[in-house]
């Protein structure tokens, strides 16, 4: 076929373009992801029973601030990465910021506690449940994020996949925080931070396969 013929074909009866289907799809995906994740936390895991105590509320707020910060930043970058060439406008440093802050706070908290408490603060009571729950709850948010990014045309598939995984891990952590009763900054840094990083790596590995166009 001649390229001129293709150009003529594509230009015939051209329709005006709907300008924001990608942003819209990403917002819908985020909403669906949050609803499903919260549903699992409420119905499957149950909300922590001591939510009326101040200490529980403070730690819930810390966990939510960490997770929401990650989701917010990751969404901004995922919106860029869904467009061709968007990878030129992503800064990994800014996305690492919530992780750095929480690790710093964890270090301060460990430093001010007696060494004998360290094991308890880092390992907590339910580290295994956290390690499993966050990636499992992240599956649906990840799937809908990938669906949304596919509405666009990412040109760096590993990075776009990684950010879809980061959004999903963050959304999952928001939901899991409602259930989790392990209240220490080192626990949040290691198990929340660690599992969200795991989701990000899984996304980076799956991106090239799931996002090709």
């Amino acid at each position: 076929m001649k390229t001129d013929d293709l150009v003529a074909l594509l230009s015939t009866n051209l329709e005006p373009v709907d300008r924001s289907p990608v942003v819209r799809a990403l917002c819908i995906a985020l909403a669906i992801g949050i609803v499903v994740a919260l549903g699992i936390a409420f119905v499957g895991l149950g909300v922590r029973s001591d939510l009326t105590t101040t200490r529980a509320l403070i730690f819930l707020a810390v966990k939510l601030a960490f997770a929401i910060g990650i989701v917010g930043l990751a969404m901004v970058y995922l919106t860029r990465l869904a467009r061709p060439g968007g990878e030129r406008k992503t800064s990994s440093f800014l996305v690492a910021l919530p992780f750095l802050v929480v690790v710093l706070l964890a270090a301060v908290s460990l430093g001010s506690a007696p060494r004998a408490h360290w094991d308890r603060m880092i390992v907590g009571g339910e580290w295994l449940e956290c390690l499993l729950s966050i990636p499992i709850i992240a599956i649906v948010p990840f799937a809908v994020s990938i669906w949304a990014v596919r509405k666009g045309a990412p040109t760096n598939l590993a990075r776009a996949g990684a950010f879809a995984g980061l959004v999903a891990g963050g959304v999952s952590a928001i939901a899991y925080a409602l259930h989790c009763t392990d209240d220490s900054l080192p626990f949040i840094a290691v198990w929340y931070g660690g599992t969200i990083v795991l989701c990000t790596l899984a996304g980076a590995a799956l991106g090239p396969r799931l996002l090709r166009w």
Binding site: T3, V7, N13, V17, R83, W213
Partner: protein
């Protein structure tokens, strides 16, 4: 910023608004630049002109199908370059050439030269269309090849008007996928 960028961006904005004449000029200008870009890239790899033309057409289709991802607040050149390069890397991966052959480059490279010595690509769109579903084929033929209005096409294909639009859109996406598969040699 080059004069090409300013002129092509204006054409792009008009074509996003639905101006078919601008769209045609835009795709025509871009295909000249893409041809020079791909011929330059493939020259050292022992590839023939038809392969460069396959890539030009894949990129033109990708630009058309993904024009909704262009942000008017940004320059056009890096967007075109990202698509052109993505299609090149994808093509080399499909044909199992070494990926190390595509060095980092400046976005302007894609606009640097113009080549209007078009060759023919290796596929026949009429033959590929036979592999579309009946509704997609009818809608693409009526609207894109025969130039019928959406209402006329709806009557001919026995679809609603929105059904015609959806089938044209899906049909072109399917064609792009078929072309990519066809050139996997």
């Amino acid at each position: 910023m080059t004069t090409g960028e300013i002129e092509l961006k204006a054409l792009m904005l008009a074509s996003l608004g639905g101006d078919a004449a601008s769209h045609r000029v835009l795709l025509d200008r871009l295909s000249g630049r893409l041809r020079a870009y791909y011929r330059g890239k493939l020259a050292g790899m022992g590839k023939v002109a038809a392969e460069a033309e396959d890539l030009v057409q894949e990129a033109v289709l990708a630009i058309h199908l993904n024009r909704h991802t262009y942000d008017p607040g940004e320059p056009l050149t890096p967007w075109v370059h990202a698509i052109a390069r993505y299609k090149l890397v994808d093509f080399l991966r499909r044909t199992r050439a070494s990926l190390a052959d595509v060095p980092i480059e400046e976005a302007d490279e894609v606009m640097a030269h113009d080549d209007h010595n078009a060759a023919e690509s290796s596929y026949d769109i009429r033959r590929l269309m036979e592999r579309l579903s009946k509704n997609m084929r009818c809608a693409v033929e009526a609207v894109k090849l025969d130039g019928l209005s959406t209402a006329e096409a709806a009557k001919r294909c026995g679809l609603s008007e929105s059904g015609v639009k959806i089938n044209v859109h899906r049909g072109l996406r399917m064609l792009a996928a078929l072309i990519a598969r066809e050139t996997r040699t």
